[in-house]
């Protein structure tokens, strides 16, 4: 694709963006109003998945506790709402900052370990956050916390159109995606990939490996927190369930399904997984097992993820 249609490759992101932006306006004509909310959720989850793809795919950090940061972001919004604040920007910004701080603390400890021990310790920290949320009765504890008054996004954004929140989410998602894509191909991104491929070599070359990894981990945590804040507004509800370890595993699964360390991997994986989930749920109560079978198929037949399938085909065509 890149070799054969250089113009298309460059234009495709803009085309996707334009289609997504037009979707709420076109949806009523096709009777798809319900799916505007669905796409909004896909976009929010894609934000979190993109941040995980950054540290996992480019940095080689197999964090199995990413849902913990989503939860920290969501509960930051709850805390601010409970304290009487009503600005959406403050809430979402706060969510990113607090989750970034949490990621700094957790990353500082976890990044001293590696391999399976890193997977386990990030999992342990996320579970700690989960139990913390379960026991904090002030913010709903086990039952969760309903946000009854929508947050205010500012003077001209609020009343203009019922789908304003959708466009705000789309803008943030596009920004996050562009930012991470850019960073991944910057000097910093190359250093990170160097660490992923051979950490010892990077240490020997004099790179401050620990600090580089921590910086990536904190950035990813902050963005996951932002996604959590948006998710809190999207659902108007926050519960400890959103940071249960299975949620972290699901996020990991979606990223790997799409394609680890590939530019389009995270959004592709999220869109594919959530769409399948939604479609299966509509037809049957037994919607888990087809997804499980899909995962096994991916593992055995497309280990590089769905994004790689497209690339390989495009590569073959170009070689012809």
């Amino acid at each position: 694709m890149h070799e054969r249609f250089p113009g298309l490759a460059r234009r495709l992101p803009w085309l996707v963006l334009a289609l997504l932006a037009a979707f709420p306006l076109l949806a009523p004509a096709f009777g798809l109003e319900y799916y505007v909310g669905f796409v909004r959720r896909v976009l929010i989850v894609a934000i979190a998945a993109t941040s995980l793809n950054f540290i996992l795919g480019y940095g080689g950090m197999a964090a199995l506790g990413h849902a913990g940061f989503i939860g920290v972001g969501a509960y930051t919004v709850v805390a601010l709402v409970e304290a009487g604040f009503s600005s959406a920007w403050l809430a979402w910004g706060g969510a990113a900052v607090v989750a970034g701080l949490a990621a700094a603390a957790i990353g500082a400890v976890s990044l001293r370990t590696r391999g399976v021990y890193f997977i386990m310790i990030t999992l342990a920290f996320a579970q700690m956050l989960y139990y913390l949320a379960v026991s904090l009765r002030t913010w709903g504890g086990d039952d969760g916390y309903g946000i009854y008054t929508p947050l205010e996004m500012g003077a001209w954004l609020d009343g203009a159109h019922p789908q304003v929140f959708y466009w705000v989410v789309l803008a943030i998602a596009a920004l996050v995606f562009a930012l991470f894509s850019r960073v991944a191909h910057s000097r910093y991104g190359h250093a990170l990939r160097g660490i992923r491929d051979n950490e010892t070599r990077m240490v020997a070359l004099g790179y401050p490996v620990y600090r580089l990894k921590l910086a990536g981990f904190v950035a990813a945590g902050a963005v996951a927190g932002l996604a959590g804040g948006l998710l809190a507004s999207h659902n108007a509800f926050v519960s400890p369930g959103m940071m249960h370890w299975t949620q972290s595993a699901l996020l990991l699964v979606m990223v790997m399904l799409g394609g680890l360390g590939r530019r389009w991997g995270a959004p592709l994986g999220v869109a594919l997984w959530l769409t399948l989930e939604e479609a299966l749920k509509m037809h049957t109560d037994y919607w888990h097992w087809p997804l499980g079978v899909l995962l096994l198929l991916v593992v055995f037949h497309a280990p590089q993820g769905v994004a790689a399938l497209f690339e390989r085909r495009a590569g073959k065509e170009a070689a012809r």
């Binding site: 009765r137 595993a249 919607w287 991916v298």
Partner: protein, 306 residues
């Protein structure tokens, strides 16, 4: 808080720890030998619990229920090993996470299709329904004593198997250095298939024994998996001895945290703070233990590989 209460909690912790050991032993051997992360290990525990609960209800024989549960689960695990797990050796840990998570999804739906969504009520065997007077002032549920006895017996059996038999020697060889063992002519694949089945049997046994005192429901496998993983990480991945010590530690810390932390905090903190903080700290006690152990010994208490 008197001595009797403390002793009772110690026994509870011991029982929980031993059940954790049954689950963790298989997990740690599979990981130690084949370097394979099996998230679906909890699903085998769930299978054991469901089959045992149903057979017990139908046949009124608890012993039969446990035996059938173990047999069925081992058979399922053998199929699983051939179809899926065998192809995961030497793959990335993340790929293993992905595939075994897929198995969890399939297993949960299979259980839902066979036994429905409502949690099962597994009954305690009639003969063990009453308490035993351990000593004056401490009646203790006899079923929990059975758990402790069974757990200790299996732990002893496993110890003898691993340390005093030929197959145990092969298992240890595979766990401490797989490549070297292969060079020396050990058929690691066959050893692994055996270990995987053994681990499945132990997980099923734990599930069958835990069924009467815990909720038998979809998702129970995912809930028990994390404490089991914590155990094998604390113990040192691949070490059965480490898993045993760590399981007891985690069992005691978790039980003690739930029993003693909330009242202790209520004594020193304002009630509203204590009510929030007590359960939170109790819930995370074992994770704090793990973080502390990993800080002091990054490869666990008894690293199986030097």
């Amino acid at each position: 808080m008197d001595a009797i209460f403390v002793f009772e909690q110690l026994l509870n912790g011991l029982g929980y720890g031993l059940m954790l050991f049954l689950i963790a032993a298989g997990l740690t051997l599979v990981f130690g030998i084949m370097d394979t992360m099996n998230l679906a290990h909890g699903s085998l525990y769930m299978a054991g619990a469901y089959v045992a609960a149903r057979v017990h209800e139908a046949s009124a024989s608890f012993a039969l229920a446990v035996a059938v549960a173990v047999a069925v689960t081992v058979a399922v695990a053998a199929v699983l090993e051939v179809l899926v797990v065998r192809r995961l050796y030497r793959r990335d840990h993340l790929v293993q996470v992905l595939a075994t998570f897929g198995i969890i999804l399939i297993a949960d739906d299979a259980v839902k299709a066979i036994w429905g969504v409502a949690p099962l009520l597994a009954s305690t065997p009639a003969a063990l329904a009453g308490p035993v007077q351990l000593f004056a002032g401490l009646p203790y549920p006899s079923y929990r004593l059975l758990l402790i006895g069974a757990g200790l017996a299996v732990a002893l059996g496993l110890y003898l198997l691993v340390n005093n038999t030929r197959i145990g020697m092969l298992v240890r060889a595979g766990a401490s250095n797989r490549q070297m063992a292969e060079f020396m002519g050990v058929r690691v694949g066959a050893v692994f298939a055996f270990v995987f089945a053994l681990g499945a049997g132990l997980a099923a046994l734990a599930g069958a024994l835990m069924a009467p005192i815990s909720a038998v429901q979809i998702g129970m496998g995912e809930a028990i998996l994390i404490p089991a993983l914590v155990v094998i990480v604390i113990g040192g991945i691949g070490s059965v001895r480490g898993a045993f010590v760590a399981a007891l530690l985690v069992g005691l810390v978790d039980t003690a945290g739930r029993a003693f932390l909330p009242p202790a905090l209520r004594a020193v903190l304002p009630p509203s703070v204590a009510a929030d903080l007590g359960p939170a700290l109790a819930g995370i006690a074992m994770y704090l233990l793990m973080a502390a152990v990993l800080t002091l010994k990054p490869a666990g208490l008894f690293p199986a590989r030097g």
